[in-house]
C-alpha cells in the first residue's frame, strides 16, 4: 500500500484500525479519504495470511513464569492443566507493537483467561510469555509490562541486525510447546551463536 500513493508513508495496522502517516506537502486529508473510500468500494482482495505456524518453545513456570501459579489458582486449575491448555491452541498474531517486537495473539481458551496485573511490572525479561485477559503475548525485549507471566521462550524475537527485526508480524500464527530448563539453555546458547556469526 505504501508504494501506491506518493506522500503516503508508513501505516500501523491494529485490531480494527489502520493508522496512515502521510506528508501534508503531497496530500490533504480529503485526497486520502477519497482514495480510501474508492478502495473500500472495490471488492476487497483476498489477502492470504502468512500462513506458516511458528512453533515457540516455552519454559513454563518457576522464575520464567512467576504468575503461572496465580493463573492456575484464578481459574481453579492445576499448573499442568494451564500449560496444556495454553500450548494446545494455535493463535493468530493480531498485532505487533507497544514496544519492539511485542506480539499480541489470541484467543486463549476461556478456562485460562486471566486479567492483567493491577499495576504493571517495571521490568519484564525478554522472551517472557504472558496472558492478558483473552490474549497471550510475548515480550521480545526487556520492557515494562502488565501481563500475567506464565513462561519464557529462549528464542530471540527481536534482533536489530535481522530484517525484519521482529520475529512476528501481524497475521502470523503461533503455537507454544513446553520445554525443560536444559532445553531452554541449549536453544538459548544456539541463538547467541547464530547472533554472533
Amino acid at each position: 500500500m505504501e508504494d501506491r500513493i506518493p506522500g503516503v508513508g508508513e501505516t500501523i495496522p491494529s485490531y480494527c484500525s489502520l493508522l496512515i502517516f502521510y506528508d501534508p506537502f503531497f496530500l490533504s486529508l480529503g485526497q486520502i479519504s477519497s482514495w480510501l473510500e474508492r478502495l473500500m468500494d472495490q471488492d476487497p482482495p483476498i489477502v492470504e495470511s502468512h500462513g506458516a505456524v511458528k512453533e515457540i518453545p516455552v519454559l513454563y513456570g518457576g522464575d520464567s513464569g512467576p504468575d503461572l501459579a496465580f493463573v492456575a489458582k484464578h481459574n481453579n486449575l492445576d499448573i499442568e492443566e494451564v500449560i496444556q491448555l495454553h500450548a494446545r491452541e494455535t493463535y493468530l498474531v493480531y498485532v505487533v507493537g507497544f514496544v519492539p517486537g511485542f506480539a499480541a495473539m489470541g484467543t486463549v481458551p476461556k478456562k485460562i483467561q486471566t486479567p492483567r496485573l493491577p499495576s504493571p511490572r517495571t521490568k519484564v525479561a525478554a522472551g517472557s510469555v504472558g496472558i492478558g485477559g483473552m490474549q497471550t503475548g510475548i515480550y521480545a525485549i526487556e520492557s515494562p509490562g502488565g501481563w500475567q507471566l506464565i513462561g519464557r521462550t529462549p528464542l530471540k524475537l527481536f534482533d536489530l541486525h535481522r530484517h525484519p527485526p521482529s520475529f512476528f508480524q501481524a497475521g502470523d500464527y503461533a503455537r507454544f510447546y513446553s520445554i525443560t530448563e536444559k532445553e531452554f539453555l541449549k536453544i538459548s546458547r544456539s541463538q547467541n551463536k547464530n547472533a554472533k556469526s
Partner: protein
Amino acid sequence: MIEVIKPGLLTTVQDQGRWGYQGYGVGIAGAMDSFALSAANLLVGNPEGAAGLEITLLGPTLKFQGETLFSLTGADLTPRLDGIPLRNWTAHLAPSGSVLSFGGRRSGVRAYLAVAGGMDVPAVMGSRSTYLLGRFGGLEGRPLKAQDELPVGVSAAPWNHLMGRAFPENLRPPYQKNPRLRAILGPFHDFFPEEGIATFFSSNYTITPNSDRMGYRLQGNPVTRRKTGELITCGLANGTVQVPPDGQPIILLTDRQTIGGYPIIVTVIHADLPLLAQSAPGDVVRFTPVLPDEAREAYLALWGPLKNFPAS
C-alpha cells in the same frame, strides 16, 4: 570529534526519527522539537535529516577536538564558547580545542546542537536517533555520559561563509510560555460525553513532573468518559492525547509506544508540537479545536519556508 566533559541532564543524539518500523513495534524517537533540529541543520549546511544533539534543561560541557562549524537552536540555555556568550539560532565556528558549556535556562526546554557534517554515529534501521526504550540508536542507545567521544561527519560543502548566519526570527515557531495548542477531535471522541469534551477544551491543564519524551502527563479538570473499562487498541501519532480512567489527559510524544488502548480525545496538530516540546513541567496548556484542513495549512505555513531556506 567532540569529547563529552559533562553529559548534562539528558543529552541524546537525535535526527528526524526512525520511520518504517512501527508495524514491528519500533517507535519513531527523533527530536522532540523537530523544527528546531531542522533549522539547526540548515544553518550549518546539513540536510534537514542529519543527526544532532538534543539537550534537555541542563546542558552538557563539550570539547571540540577539531575546528567545527556548529549551530544552536530551540531552548536558550545560556550557551558559551570558552566562556564567551553565544547567540541562539545562529551558526558559530568552534576553534580546535574550544569548549562549549551552558548556564541557566532562559527559555524553552530542549536546545539543539548541529555540527557541519552531522553526528556520525551508526544508523540503525535507517536512523541515528536514540531510542531509549529499545536501547539502540544514537550512541549505544543511551544518553551521553562523561568521556564519550562523538564522531563528526565530513561536511559536503565548504562552510566558512556560513559562520555567523542566523535563522530569521519570523520563520521560527511562535514559542510562548503556557501555549494554546490546536488539536483535531477524534477518532474516538464518541467515547466522551459532550460535557467531557467541553471540559477538555475549556480547562487549563498543568504539565506534571511525570512528563518525558514518551509523553506529557497533564493535570486539571478530569475529562469524563462515556464508557469505562473498554479498550480500543490502535496506532498512535505524535501529539495524540489519550484519556485514561482517571480523566487526566496524556499527550503522547516521540518516544511513545506504537499502539495504545486508552480512548483518544484529540491529536495536537503537528505545527504546534514545537511549542509543546519547549514547555516544561509546571507550564499550563489549553486546547483549541481545529479542522484537519487548518492543521495542514498551519503545517505548510511553518515548514514551507524551512524547505526554501538556502542550504548554503
